[in-house]
Symmetry: C2
Subunit: 342 residues, 2 copies
């Protein structure tokens, strides 16, 4: 077994008969270099199995081409979908993901402390809390942060999200068209603006139809399948004299748990006995066993917007703060809502 | 807005009244330094908002503390579960994930070319193809590679996987105990040893019970939910005179698609009309709507084994090649198999 030896740019320069700086320029997309010289360098590199050391060159350019992505909830397929989409979009731009996972709803501050040691070009944060102090620290160092599918009022970081209040209104509207009269909701983390906004849009539309907030039954499902199932049981156990005829879950993963409890434990038919709707449009919402009516988040557009806000092309420039981009979601009608009553 | 300024180790040394090398040692877990001196350095670092630059120090230590993880199929929850588990285990060891995604079943060679530019401490590869040439190139550079849940005969990389043949045998055994007589299988990627081994263990056990391979109906489901649904339709459409009474899906994600088609399209009761089993034990297998009997992969033990094979503590040493670690899976009995016939 031969000892590991990595060819250096000096070896390549010697073999190609050019200067070391020509080797650097041959591997840099921005640099001007004669096509013939570049070809000679690349051939020498191929022969020596040389790859440029991005880590070393980052000390000069201060760009590592690495973007930190902090993910807080991989049990929710929406964030897996988002991560996949972020990965594809970054790779297509020649950038890599440094991935950090934190516990669901946990603080990302410790992850951010690690992130800052790696001189990343930017940070994308999904479904985790980040303190104002860490955010300022990152921005002061010239590392832009974008919150994805989150919004924190008064927070310095830029944020890209679905227009959650608008989406909640779409669901209320669809329930009303389906003839619903008695409503229930399963909410997520009470401290998160995502859950608050989805609830607000829903109850605001119902208020316009004359329904008081106090008449809407609600339980917290903590944004998990198991939590959604438990909340549905709590809201709809057999003892209640009168069931709600429409159940809004503020995300799909809880709606799956609620639907399973409704059908498997409570013997309910959906949508005949009770209509159900979710939010996100995760892949499972389209599965034959659920066919869940929901609001689709425009994930690809949100990712494109988030990457635009990281401003890779304007390194070192002033970072705009406290931007809030809300993109409209779309109602996806499937089989868990009744057809509009005549 | 003040221009971004990052404090250096010189600034910290000056404020703490120590040498720059003392600052380096204060931030290195391996180094010996007086507790009082370390405390002084850390306090100065806190005041100056200094974090050590891992990128710069990696040029000296040749360790970045970064491990590349290449993921090929985030639509299969098993790999999401594995990624989460890998992330937790690496972070607990003070290491970060550089994440690369490739298309399902696609080649990881292009990702590996990028990986090698980042001087990573090791590579974990799940559900993607990697050529022998790229593997050798990585190992020759002293970067160890571990294939996770994959095994390629004659391949130089180390591999950690579930004992798939053994697991297939467990399912066959359980079907036989449940009184099954006519068998069908939904297979995955025909070129992947994972699918081949899960099939082999299954048919070998059935052969011992006197069943010929030719008597077992089979269709390929390409390891997706949609593929599993389509394969189930193809195998079990209403025209067939005699249905199989046991359906083995070589992974859970295809079993979910098959179960949905069986119940929603073909009106079958599970397990009364047909028994179903999967492999992996993804979180959805435990959901109320599926309660799928399956073989649980020992994910945490597999991750621990994979990290052990990356030999972080023996950087620069000889990398052992062609190691194959197969850990036994466990049968998880739920509701899709019949109780043993008397």
């Amino acid at each position: 077994m031969k000892p590991s030896h990595r060819a250096t740019s000096f070896d390549v320069a010697a073999l190609a008969g050019v200067s070391q700086s020509a080797v650097s320029r041959a591997f840099s997309q921005q640099s001007s270099i004669a096509a013939e010289t570049r070809a000679r360098v690349l051939e020498a590199a191929r022969q020596l199995d040389y790859v440029p050391n991005r880590i070393a060159s980052s000390l000069i350019t201060r760009r590592t081409n690495i973007v930190a992505v902090i993910v807080g909830d991989m049990a929710n397929p929406f964030y897996v979908q988002a991560l996949h989409c972020i990965g594809c979009a970054l790779q297509a731009r020649g950038r890599q993901i440094l991935l950090f996972t934190v516990d669901r709803g946990g603080s990302a501050d410790e992850a951010m402390r690690r992130v800052l040691q790696y001189q990343v070009d930017g940070v994308l944060l999904t479904s985790a809390q980040l303190s104002m102090r860490m955010t300022s620290r990152s921005l002061d160092r010239g590392v832009p942060i974008v919150l994805f599918n989150r919004y924190v009022p008064g927070h310095d970081a830029a944020c890209v999200r679905c227009d959650n209040a608008h989406g909640g209104g779409l669901i209320a509207e669809a329930f009303l068209r389906g003839g619903a009269r008695r409503f229930a909701m399963i909410t997520g983390d009470p401290g998160a603006t995502t859950s608050q906004d989805r609830v607000r849009g829903f109850v605001t539309r119902l208020a316009e139809a004359g329904l008081a907030r106090g008449d809407i039954a609600e339980a917290c499902g903590h944004s998990t399948y198991e939590g959604g199932a438990a909340a549905a049981l709590a809201l709809l156990d057999r003892q209640r004299r009168e069931w709600p005829d429409a159940l809004y879950c503020i995300n799909d993963i809880m709606a799956l748990g609620a639907m399973d409890v409704l059908r498997m434990r409570l013997g309910a038919a959906i949508p005949q006995d009770i209509q159900v709707a979710g939010f996100d449009d995760i892949p499972q919402a389209a599965h034959l066993s659920y066919q869940l009516t929901t609001v689709a988040q425009p994930v690809e557009a949100m990712v494109a917007e988030a990457l635009a806000l990281l401003h890779f092309d304007r390194a070192g420039q002033r970072i705009e703060r406290a931007i809030d981009r809300a993109l409209p979601g779309q109602l996806v009608m499937r089989a868990t809502l009744r057809a509009p009553s005549a």
